[in-house]
């Protein structure tokens, strides 16, 4: 008997050892990747890199201002489209969870969450690029907005569902009209949760390349015109990383470093918000 319990304990400990080993092994590739990007990219970043446009083949130097401006413009435009739409749909889903429309749109959010980003790219190509006759930043923004929607909707819905009903009932019993209750009571109370959803969605789409391949396309010029092709950070990394020139690789490493920093910062902001207001996403 003694011996058997000893064996079982040993087995249990071995199992724990295996679990701990596998669980922590995952930090290795992440640390390697982060360190490698920082090593290769941090040295590239200087004032000229941030403000210049890419140099022609064979010339060292050059910058990524076109991609920085482009990413900023497109993500902003996407947010302007996706945040109001997403919040409205999220409010609807949390307010009327049992209607038929809520069932179908909730189903559609689930579907949208799983749609491969490249498919979004194809579809937006036929919605906007082909009718307008040109690749444009607008179509890229719309593609990104579609990618943002599910996260914004789900975070709005889930935060608002957690709020106590008495809050809304109190406001309604004072005779406050429904839309003012939502806008002035419910949404401000759940603001932190919604905000963390928004930052999370921005962090996700800022690194999206696939939907931009056939929509924003890319351009070597600094421009803020929504009707014209526009470069973005991930797209610039893709074109330069797959090119055969060392100078361009260096540009791409620098751009990767900047993109990584953006994504990390946005994730840390999300973390801080959720921790401060104790939200669970």
């Amino acid at each position: 008997m003694e011996a058997r319990i000893g064996m079982r304990n040993i087995k249990s400990n071995i199992f724990k050892g295996i679990i701990v080993f596998f669980a922590f092994l995952i930090t290795v590739p992440l640390v390697i990747i982060l360190l490698y990007i920082i090593k290769q990219g941090a040295g590239q970043v200087n004032w000229k890199f941030l403000t210049g446009t890419p140099a022609p083949v064979g010339e060292a130097g050059g910058g990524i201002a076109n991609a920085l401006v482009g990413s900023f413009v497109m993500v902003m435009t996407a947010s302007v489209v996706a945040i109001p739409v997403g919040m409205a749909a999220g409010v609807y889903l949390s307010e009327n969870p049992r209607t038929k429309l809520a069932y179908y749109s909730s189903l559609c959010v689930d579907i949208l969450q799983g749609v491969p980003s490249i498919v979004v790219g194809i579809v937006v190509y036929f919605w906007l690029v082909k009718p307008l006759g040109t690749f444009s930043a607008l179509s890229g923004s719309i593609a990104l907005a579609i990618m943002m929607l599910p996260i914004v909707i789900r975070s709005t819905e889930q935060t608002l569902k957690l709020l106590p009903d008495s809050l809304k009932e109190a406001a309604l019993s004072l005779g406050v009209p429904y839309h003012r209750v939502i806008l002035k009571v419910t949404i401000p109370c759940g603001f932190a949760g919604i905000l963390s959803g928004i930052t999370l969605s921005i962090a996700r789409v800022i690194g999206e390349t696939a939907p931009l391949l056939f929509t924003a396309f890319g351009s070597p010029f600094v421009s803020a015109a929504l009707g014209k092709p526009m470069e973005s950070l991930p797209h610039l990394i893709f074109t330069y990383a797959t090119s055969p020139y060392d100078d361009w690789h260096n540009l791409a490493w620098g751009a990767s470093f900047i993109l990584l920093m953006f994504v990390l910062t946005l994730n840390i902001i999300t973390k801080v918000i959720t921790r401060k207001w104790k939200i669970q996403l």
């Binding site: 701990v20 922590f24 790219g121 993109l259």
Partner: protein, 309 residues
């Protein structure tokens, strides 16, 4: 007096105010409904666009399209079989590699060490892996992983491409670990403690509790997590495009270069110069859309059933 002489005036003023409020209220509700309808329209629009635009290829090629073994746009021959195989191979290899990791993370953070700085650290690591853009994984893979795989291939005496199915699967495996893991953590934490305590009271060791209480209880949920990561892996584009080698032949081994459905679209969509070529690519997108949607919905359904129980 004023009221008696002119009662309508007072009434009207109040009415007017509440009327305008009422209008706003109705408008607000309509906007909410419209936005929810918009979502449904987006999905229907995506589906309609994909079907309409792939019509020429569906008509011309029929169902044989999926089993055609040759993809040669120059000769106008389109068969999706090589990409089907490429997609399935990369996804399943990635899944096999990633499942032990995501299960281990789920068990460790769900059962062994749910609180404290060490578990926070690991949890943040997992979230960070999900946050890094796929283009960065691809870029890193191209410059670090490819030479490593090439060394490996030299040792095995196969053609040292470096890029290929295996390289893409390795990166894909890292990328999909968080999806199974984060779901698994919350599911394992939902196991009722009376169940576990009962097992401990009977003298079970920790391993036995995990094996015969936690695992059976969470099996369906963990399977759903695997499904969701599979959905991710199937649709992942950029990292795979950069690492898989982009050849339209059926991969002869896991070291050989190939192509997935997503990577073909990414590579050839802007080059497709005639209708049939383009619509053949879109049909790939349609297939991809259907497969990922079905997998995701099944996964979500399992999770809802699990959490409702």
């Amino acid at each position: 007096m004023f009221c008696i002489r002119n009662p309508k005036f007072v009434e009207n003023k109040r009415l007017k105010l509440s009327n305008s409020q009422l209008k706003w209220e109705i408008l607000f509700k309509r906007i909410l409904i419209a936005m929810s309808i918009l979502l449904v329209l987006i999905i229907l629009g995506v589906l309609a666009t994909l079907i309409i635009e792939s019509m020429p290829s569906i008509k011309a090629l029929g169902f044989g399209y999926l089993w055609g073994k040759v993809w040669d746009p120059v000769q106008n021959i389109y068969g999706a079989y090589p990409f089907l195989i490429g997609t399935l191979l990369t996804s399943f290899i990635a899944l096999i590699i990633s499942v032990p990791f995501s299960y281990a993370i789920a068990i460790y953070l769900g059962e062994y060490n749910p609180k404290g700085w060490l578990s926070d650290l690991l949890k943040n690591t997992v979230e960070l892996i999900a946050a890094v853009p796929s283009i960065i994984y691809g870029f890193w893979g191209l410059f670090v992983l490819v030479p490593m795989v090439r060394e490996l291939e030299m040792k095995f005496h196969v053609l040292p491409y470096g890029i290929g199915i295996l390289t893409a699967s390795l990166i894909l495996a890292i990328m999909i670990i968080p999806y199974g893991a984060s779901l698994g953590i919350s599911l394992i934490r939902m196991v009722p403690s009376p169940l576990k305590e009962g097992a401990y009271a009977l003298g079970a060791t920790r391993f036995e509790v995990i094996r015969s209480v936690i695992m059976p209880y969470t099996r369906s949920g963990l399977f759903a997590g695997v499904l969701l990561s599979l959905g991710r892996a199937l649709g992942e584009t950029m990292a795979v495009t950069m690492l898989i080698g982009n050849t339209s032949t059926i991969p002869s081994s896991i070291f050989a270069p190939g192509n997935t459905m997503a990577s073909v679209i990414a590579n050839e969509f802007t080059e497709a110069d005639h209708t049939e070529y383009l619509s053949a690519l879109i049909e790939l997108g349609l297939v991809l859309f259907f497969v990922t949607v079905v997998i995701n919905l099944i996964g979500k359904r399992i999770i809802t059933r699990f959490t409702n129980n």
